[in-house]
Symmetry: C2
Subunit: 345 residues, 2 copies
């Protein structure tokens, strides 16, 4: 029977192709330091294909050739934003001959464990880090045991290995949209302090609000969750200090926050978009299934994943790293949660 009941090894391929292990290895890895007759090369490749040969990653790693695997560390997997990034990373890695693993690093809680399991135990050749923040334990671990890595989405100032999107642009896009509809008092829900994309979004929001001469542009902070959105929205719509800040629109830093904000608006007996317009960041399928469907700024999340992989692999191959900004521009996705103040179209 033509079955191979057990993994084929390099020697099996060598035997079948009637050459030595060394030759097989060099042929399959496409090394130039070896000259082979095209005929031999083909025999090797056919044998490998016939046996369904796959090199044992452990053996390969041991021999100093790396594991051909990466790991992406994300702060939360129930945030679909990171799932999209992960998909981009996975696909691009695969195209480049690598495997991208996914690990959840609950805001630093699991960082050391992941680092040990993945890097110290030699399972990966490098890290894509999307969970960075100031004082994150990973930064320590990286300085003690250096390993190729890049930071994505959340950058680390001065690291020179940040892969980010143009989040400032997303604030401008959202604000221009609301301004165009006639809004002059727009509130912003930012993320927790210290998280760079959120900080940048907030700065750009305030700067552009100034440029447009908005009458009010209050900012409230909250976690990137529904609950964070609820409480921040309440601050904007019903400030604790009693000041009257009658925002007619809210622009949030994440999709979940936007969902929370919508809940809060309704809980106050207000309507969307008639009384308050809402714009979220990150266009994910669920946005279209809210009521009303949510207007969002679509960020190039998938591309962020692919770009981060490219940067990391370049670094692994010894190229100098450097900050990268994904060129794709944020794009407004118009849905039913925005209208002119008072509900005008």
């Amino acid at each position: 029977m033509p079955e191979q009941p057990v993994r084929a090894r390099l020697v099996d391929v060598a035997e079948m192709a009637k050459v030595s292990k060394a030759t097989v290895s060099k042929v399959l890895n496409g090394r130039q330091d070896l000259s082979v007759r095209p005929e031999t090369r083909q025999r090797v490749q056919e044998a490998a294909a016939a046996l369904g040969y796959r090199p044992h990653s452990g053996a390969r790693a041991l021999a100093g050739a790396g594991t051909h695997a990466l790991a992406l560390l994300v702060p939360a997997l129930d945030n679909p934003t990171y799932v999209t990034i992960a998909r981009g990373a996975y696909q691009r890695a695969r195209e480049l001959g690598y495997l991208s693993l996914l690990a959840e690093d609950f805001d630093g809680q699991e960082a050391d464990e992941s680092f040990n399991d993945l890097v110290q135990e030699g399972r990966v050749d490098g890290l894509l880090i999307a969970s960075a923040r100031p004082g994150h334990p990973l930064l320590d671990a990286l300085s003690r045991t250096p390993v190729p890595h890049v930071f994505l989405n959340r950058s680390v100032e001065g690291s020179g290995r940040n892969v980010t999107m143009d989040v400032a642009r997303s604030s401008i896009t959202a604000l221009d949209h609301l301004y165009g509809l006639g809004h002059r008092a727009v509130g912003h829900i930012a993320g927790p302090p210290g998280i760079t994309p959120s900080e940048h979004r907030k700065k750009a929001f305030l700067r552009h609000a100034g440029e447009l001469g908005l009458s009010a542009s209050p900012v409230a902070s909250g976690d990137f969750t529904e609950d964070g959105g609820v409480s921040a929205a309440l601050q904007l719509l019903r400030p604790a200090d009693g000041t009257r800040r009658p925002v007619t629109a809210i622009y949030t830093s994440s999709l979940a926050q936007a969902m929370g904000a919508m809940t809060a608006v309704r809980d106050l007996g207000l309507r969307i978009p008639e009384d308050v317009s809402v714009v979220g960041n990150d266009d994910l399928p669920v946005a279209g299934h809210l009521s009303p469907p949510l207007t969002t700024v679509a960020m190039p999340l998938y591309e962020l994943g692919t770009a981060a992989v490219e940067a990391l692999l370049a670094a692994i191959q010894g190229a100098p790293v450097g900050d990268v900004v994904v060129p794709t521009e944020p794009r407004l996705v118009l849905r039913g949660s925005t209208a002119g103040p008072g509900g005008t179209a």
Copy 2:
């Protein structure tokens, strides 16, 4: 300086503890076939701790001791159901000394690739498969290259390695709730054919509807997505065949379907829960942030993950496998999307 700039190896520990590699290996792996003085044992353990020693997974795997890693294959990561399962699996695996990796198998598309990357390249010792379905390529691969595995959530009939939840019970719980509110015509949105949990839920729904003597209990199928929920709900509320099936409540197989159903209900100009009550499966944070908040049946997803890991590790250690049902019962989580027909409390 007390730094160890590079990974500590077994020999480093051996040297520091003034024993041989063999002794260190045996001590750290807690093998009984070696007798050591408590004093020596302690020296070894202290040395390992001092150096932050971690065995190289590749070396260990090569030497025949396995990789101490598992992989969980899920059909879709943007379905938070699987994220919860994955968290349970990860934690339990960690407690038992294993690393659980996560791979997305877009309904069979990536199955062979994942299998090659993870199993054939020797990165994992076993598979947790949540993406099974009839004719799935993985089933083939598994028969060609056997590797320890269990199926979770989606079972494979006759495999004798299914880890599942009591989904029949969830239908009964949901139906009893709606019946208690006074509903006599309840529709069900099932998943695509061939997916076992959905089939079982559907069977239990029909059986229990019969037991309760419901006047109507139509079933429509759709993907486990928002869109699937939309079209299935439309079939229930406005059947193409012109028959009048005035369901006053809908029970769905997934959370996303419930969200889609809610959209569909509203698009028809109906109100929730006054005109139509909706109950979803799987209680996830987003359910509380819909409008109205969604009543759900909470399934023991986290426990499903932990139970699957326990079953797989037992199998890896050579224990006979067998089907397992997670003992935790589904639990109704009451929110605003259900009320008596006509909107009575």
